[in-house]
Symmetry: C2
Subunit: 404 residues, 2 copies
């Protein structure tokens, strides 16, 4: 699938039919009622949210303004009624375009009281003087407000007790709606197309830096909104580092090049990689690629409702650890994806999260290929009744070559 391209080199949107942007209000109503049911079970008067994905989850509030660390943003989800946005004035117009009605603002930045009093009043109104308020405090969460402001807030709200809301947030976000899955599928399709096109856009002798730039532009041309994450590496028979920026080293015959992208459509991520041989690669590299392909295949078969992440890990790990080869991990062999590049859960030996239909996860087997080098594969799938559904177009069965 190629895009139209005018003489200036910029393209219109992809010719692929894209899902609509945003969500119907019913999506947010469903999220809220699921949340309130869980809050009710735990006797919570409200949730206090401070981070981008959580505030977006309940409101649809989508902006790159989170890049600025200056201003804190708050959302209070009461046990009854709609969420309340407690936000800097600069966000009022954008928030007013969402389904949220209650928008309380202050003229941030005001370091002396950056929303703390306004938030305290809101919490006291919703939770009373002795209510329990859920706040994400567990794995993979953080509090996006100054710690000193949090202490000031605690002092202002007296008897309100904060309890960990991580299990509630995890339970809500773990299973995606069909509308969410459609957005992830859309960005997976765009990135799959861009990966397929890449061997025709680069050549041996190109630097990693130029290859990264070319690939980012290709992703944008094909309809990605943004490419917040592009990492990778290249080296003879494998790569040593998979989270660094690109080097200025030129691609050489015998190299394996890997690119791993978290691109975005309408606020939803893909997260997968592809490997390419440069000119020609040796037999050990071909075998390593095939082993990774087989491990992914085994993971695909294992990823069914009722299986745990530990089961998926174990099935892939068995395939990676054979007489001739040694598996390797980046701490896990895959994870959840969605509104963030990586989400709960993880495919580790100890993660007992049970797979359910609607969960979107990656499968990411790795092989140690010697001398501090590795190869990794990655696909994105959604758990369905029975077999999982691939959201990425499956990697080729044999290592594709550049400049062949």
């Amino acid at each position: 699938m190629d895009n139209q391209q005018d003489l200036n080199g910029h393209s219109g949107s992809s010719s692929r039919a894209m899902p609509p942007r945003g969500f119907p209000v019913s999506e947010f109503e469903n999220r809220l009622s699921r949340a309130q049911r869980l809050m009710n079970e735990q006797g919570l008067a409200a949730l206090l949210l401070t981070t981008e994905p959580e505030i977006r989850y309940f409101s649809g509030f989508l902006t790159q303004f989170w890049q600025s660390p200056t201003r804190p943003w708050f959302m209070v989800v009461p046990f009854w009624g709609k969420p309340i946005a407690v936000i800097p004035e600069i966000g009022a117009a954008t928030m007013a375009a969402t389904w949220i009605d209650a928008i309380r603002t202050w003229p941030s930045p005001v370091p002396d009281d950056d929303g703390v009093s306004l938030l305290a009043w809101t919490l006291l109104e919703v939770a009373g003087r002795t209510g329990r308020v859920g706040l994400p405090m567990g794995p993979e969460t953080h509090l996006r407000m100054p710690l000193a402001d949090f202490e000031a807030l605690r002092a202002k709200i007296g008897g309100i007790e904060f309890v960990d809301a991580t299990p509630i947030i995890q339970a809500l976000r773990l299973v995606k709606s069909e509308a969410e899955i459609a957005k992830i599928a859309a960005i997976c399709a765009i990135a799959s197309d861009a990966f397929e096109a890449l061997p025709h856009l680069i050549a041996p002798g190109d630097t990693e830096e130029s290859v990264f730039r070319t690939f980012k532009i290709e992703l944008l041309r094909r309809g990605a909104d943004d490419v917040p994450y592009l990492v990778g590496g290249a080296g003879p028979g494998g790569y040593g580092d998979i989270i660094s920026p690109p080097s200025r080293r030129p691609l050489q015959a015998g190299d394996v090049l890997m690119l791993d992208t978290g691109s975005v459509f309408d606020g939803y991520f893909c997260d997968f990689d592809r490997n390419f041989g440069i000119d020609t690669v040796d037999d050990a590299t071909r075998r390593a690629y095939e082993t990774l392909y087989r491990a992914t295949e085994v993971g695909l078969q294992a990823a069914r409702p009722g299986a745990t992440c530990a089961d998926v890990f174990a099935s892939m790990w068995r395939e990676l650890s054979n007489d001739d080869e040694a598996g390797t991990t980046t701490g896990r062999l895959g994870h959840g994806i969605g509104m963030q590049l990586t989400e709960w859960p993880s495919h580790t030996a100890f993660d007992q999260t049970v797979l359910q239909p609607g969960m979107v996860i990656t499968l990411e087997p790795g092989l140690n290929v010697g001398a501090g080098r590795m190869m990794v594969h990655e696909e994105n799938i959604v758990i369905r009744d029975g077999e999982a559904e691939l959201l990425t177009r499956r990697a080729p069965t044999e290592l594709p070559l550049v400049g062949d």
Copy 2:
């Protein structure tokens, strides 16, 4: 300045001479010795850092992997000797390529103890059982680790007291080195070129979405590493919302289009905008543009060593508030920039930060143009002895037109 472009539409790097990537070790040694002097003055045994810019400031550790919320990252800066990285294994190779020698890792993610014990041992080793450890807790900071893990850490380190290190971090990062300024200047030049080229790349009838895409691709082509921030808007005589994603509304005659980008070179941001008239604009719009231009000019004259941010604010605000027009702010009329899109300080009526040579700031006057619409301008400058130096190419004196 045009880039080379091959038949596939991807470009090589810019023909502009770019500053070298990374920093000499002496840059980090200077940062560390300045930090340790300040720590010594306050009797701190160590700093504990958890956020991307702070860890990068002391190490040079540059990766997009921070997009993943799964793993916490720590850096301990002792009062004597080099910083100690306490990080997930996945980052070891990237960190080993920096000037940091002491790299302690654990196989994250391990939700039961995600680096907490390792960090506790490191703090106890550096600060003893009763030392004072500086942690950023003030305005514009946050703690990037789960709150429950922070409580677990506190329990493990007993008598160690955390005190607010925000003033130290602000003092260090407020004044940029010439090597840092060169990186900001490089991305400002790239974005200035891209803004100048834009009227030739877009046309009336294009949607905001297509304009944003075209501009992002142009920025990448001209040498931006990434475009983490691109916001803007378009509407008749002004725009109502300056932090939303682009709409699918086509540009119409009489519109003012504004694009505001935080693009990045080697981890350093520009942050400025440009306005464009579509086809033709009315006299009120031309006058508003001229007022904003004059207000920026006044700000440029005011931004000298010894003046405060409040002085810069007051000088621009006077120019914006005249018989016919009403100034507006997004809470401030500019701010610091550097490793982040926005940094301390802010141009507000109350910010008494004194400007010093080497500070890099934006000037961002705004005008209310009626009916919930505004126009904003922005330039990036570095404070020098005497007059400030523009890092952006100054906006045209008259509103440039698209499709004229």
